[in-house]
């Protein structure tokens, strides 16, 4: 049987607030898909249908949008999705090494999910954190910078306990430190 999905009252309120930002309803498509994915963990076709019905837009439109953007999960993923950046700056600084370390550690390849449904690994394109390479993002949320094998061990341990890492503020380097180096 196909699972049924429903938005909560709060979700619907959030969706109304989103619609109010725009002169028409179509621009609410991306943000409403986000509301749905944060609620259900993915936007498989039944969820796309729910979004289409809620916004009164054609299902084909919502499907077209969902499939264009890489961050929407068109199929179910692990509880924690580890997006390891392997684009140029990260590649230069060991991004693939970090990716392969994770693959070995969790016994899966990029694109796969562990059997217990805890972790998925993805190799992704530049996340805009090139100065803090190598880095990864966890489930479209927190960035983890300057990865090392030790740091990955720690992050995986804490995720297993259900703890997301905190937001890391990197700070702006100050000129005075440079002048007095």
């Amino acid at each position: 049987m196909e699972e049924t999905y429903e938005f909560t009252k709060e979700d619907l309120k959030e969706i109304e607030a989103i619609k109010a930002k725009f002169p028409e309803v179509m621009p609410a498509t991306l943000p409403t898909l986000w509301v749905a994915q944060r609620r259900f963990g993915h936007v498989e076709p039944p969820v796309q249908r729910l979004v289409a019905e809620t916004l009164d837009l054609p299902e084909s439109h919502v499907h077209g949008v969902a499939t264009f953007y890489t961050q929407y999960y068109k199929e179910q993923k692990g509880k924690y999705v580890l997006d390891v950046c392997t684009t140029t700056s990260c590649q230069l600084c060991g991004g693939y090494k970090m990716l392969h370390y994770l693959e070995d550690k969790l016994g899966i390849k990029a694109g796969e999910t562990t059997e217990d449904g805890m972790f998925s690994i993805q190799s992704v394109e530049c996340l805009g954190a090139c100065g803090y390479a190598p880095m990864m993002q966890i489930t479209n949320d927190v960035y983890v910078n300057n990865l090392t094998e030790e740091k990955l061990d720690e992050v995986i341990d804490s995720l297993k306990e259900g703890k997301m890492p905190e937001f890391e503020s990197v700070g702006m380097p100050l000129l005075e430190n440079i002048n007095n180096k």
Binding site: K21, F22, P23, E24, M26, P27, A28, T29, L30, P31, L33, W34, H61, G64, V65, F68, Y69, T70, Q71, Y72, T86, T87, T88, S89, Q91, L92, C93, E125, C126, L127, G128, A129, C130, G131, Y132, A133, Q137, N140, D141, V142, Y143, F167, S169, V170, M172, P173, L174, L175, I178, N179, K181
Partner: protein
């Protein structure tokens, strides 16, 4: 002068604790420029456009176009809606600067966008931020709410008849949505397919209405120009490309990061003094100066080159986003170029054949060479494909994919040839 960077005081992200808090920003003179422009008798929308045009703030999103000149393309107001779409997509590999503004000084951007909106008689501003920047989207939403609560956004600013709305919208993972017309499509809730131009966004932008697109850092430069005048701005950094620049330095350097300095700082000073040299005492091999689409320069091409549009053009590259990717002597250029080509292949929206097929071919041939299966004639095939991609497509992604291939092969040809196997085909 460019070499004055040692005494430069940051303007976009000054070292003031908690500047992201609106009260701290106001205490440090924030929103005064907006108030003067909207409320005072000194300014009219037209004079603001002229002032910004004269200051020559060149777009920091990659193309380097004069912001005020772009604003002047907006048609006369007809009473209908008009839009400013602020580009916070920041997806060009090597670029990680706009998020610093969101995090450390969001109000300088908000104030700049509001001044721009007033100058162009805009009714609604949108800031489009890439979906991966979830944490920074939250920061921007908070900053905008604070500005709204203080009356800087909304109906009748400063008791005048000027009203403006300002909303955050988010992407969901697609580099192409940084291209301005793809961003408009995405904002309208669709797949991010770039539009054919003309019509240009100033004529038909969001929902067919006049729209201007500017980068976040570009707009953050506006309050300074209003407060201090064009002479002040034009005195900072390089003559034809003035103002502060957020340099993002990544790759094999000891201290990567985003540094705010005047435009036109010598490249070698950025690498050696500011980023404190190459890791492990290694030698420099090459530099991508402004995001992955800008042509790579060999170490021996960098002497006397500074980070501004003219100097980089003379050297054979471009300023782009000032996202500098530094490569040391051990860098495998074949691997590096293959990865860049993989990026553009992944991100092509597929509308135009030269781009959809071309990016695929570039990646495939480079993978073959990387795996030791390539032949010398594949290098010429690669160069031929780039020629067939450039200038033949709806947007500039195809060019962005072609340039690195053409220039990396030409500038490091030996390394590519060494990786090719001996030809098995008889030459006719």
């Amino acid at each position: 002068m460019a070499s004055d960077w040692k005494s430069f005081e940051p303007i976009l992200i000054p070292d003031i604790p908690n500047l992201d808090k609106i009260d701290v920003y106001i205490k440090n003179g924030g929103y005064k420029a907006l108030e003067n422009v909207v409320k005072g008798d000194e300014w009219t929308p037209e004079s603001v456009v002229d002032e910004v045009k004269e200051a020559n703030i060149r777009g920091r999103g990659g193309a380097g176009f004069n912001a005020g000149l772009k604003w002047s393309f907006m048609p006369p107001a007809d009473g209908g809606p008009r839009y400013l779409a602020c580009n916070g997509d920041e997806s060009e590999p090597g670029t990680f600067k706009d998020r610093k503004i969101f995090e450390y000084n969001p109000h300088i951007f908000i104030e700049g966008a509001l001044i721009a909106a007033y100058a162009m008689k805009v009714t609604t501003i949108f800031v489009y931020i890439r979906g991966e920047y979830y944490s920074w989207i939250k920061m921007m939403e908070k900053a905008l709410q604070d500005a709204r609560d203080k009356g800087f956004i909304g109906k009748n600013l400063f008791g005048t008849d000027y009203s403006v709305e300002f909303e955050v919208t988010e992407g969901a993972g697609a580099y192409i949505c940084g291209e301005e017309t793809a961003m408009l499509e995405s904002l309208e809730g669709k797949r991010g397919y770039p539009r054919v131009k003309p019509p240009f966004p100033a004529q038909k932008g969001l929902w067919g209405r006049p729209t201007t697109i500017n980068n976040i850092e570009t707009l953050a430069n506006v309050p300074g120009v209003i407060n201090n005048g064009t002479a002040w701005f034009k005195n900072i950094g390089a003559e034809t490309h003035p103002g502060p620049v957020l340099y993002g330095i990544s790759g094999h350097v000891n201290r990567p990061g985003v540094y705010e300095l005047p435009s036109g700082v010598p490249v070698m000073e950025l690498i050696n003094d500011i980023a404190q040299g190459i890791r492990g005492g290694k030698k420099l091999k090459g530099l991508i100066p402004g995001g992955s689409s800008t042509p790579i320069l060999r170490a021996d091409q960098l002497e006397g080159v500074s980070m501004d549009a003219d100097s980089l053009r003379e050297a054979g590259s471009m300023m782009g986003t000032a996202g500098m990717i530094v490569m040391d002597e051990d860098t495998d250029m074949v691997d590096a170029l293959w990865r860049i080509s993989h990026f553009y292949k992944h991100e092509s929206c597929g509308q135009c054949t030269p781009c959809r097929d071309g990016t695929g071919w570039l990646e495939k041939i480079l993978l073959k060479i990387k795996n030791g299966e390539g032949e010398i004639r594949d290098l010429d095939l690669l160069l031929d494909v780039t020629t067939q991609m450039e200038g033949r497509t709806i947007c500039a992604l195809a060019d962005a994919a072609a340039w690195p291939v053409r220039h990396t092969i030409n500038r490091f040809r030996d390394e590519f040839e060494a990786r090719c196997k001996k030809s098995v085909h008889a030459v006719a």
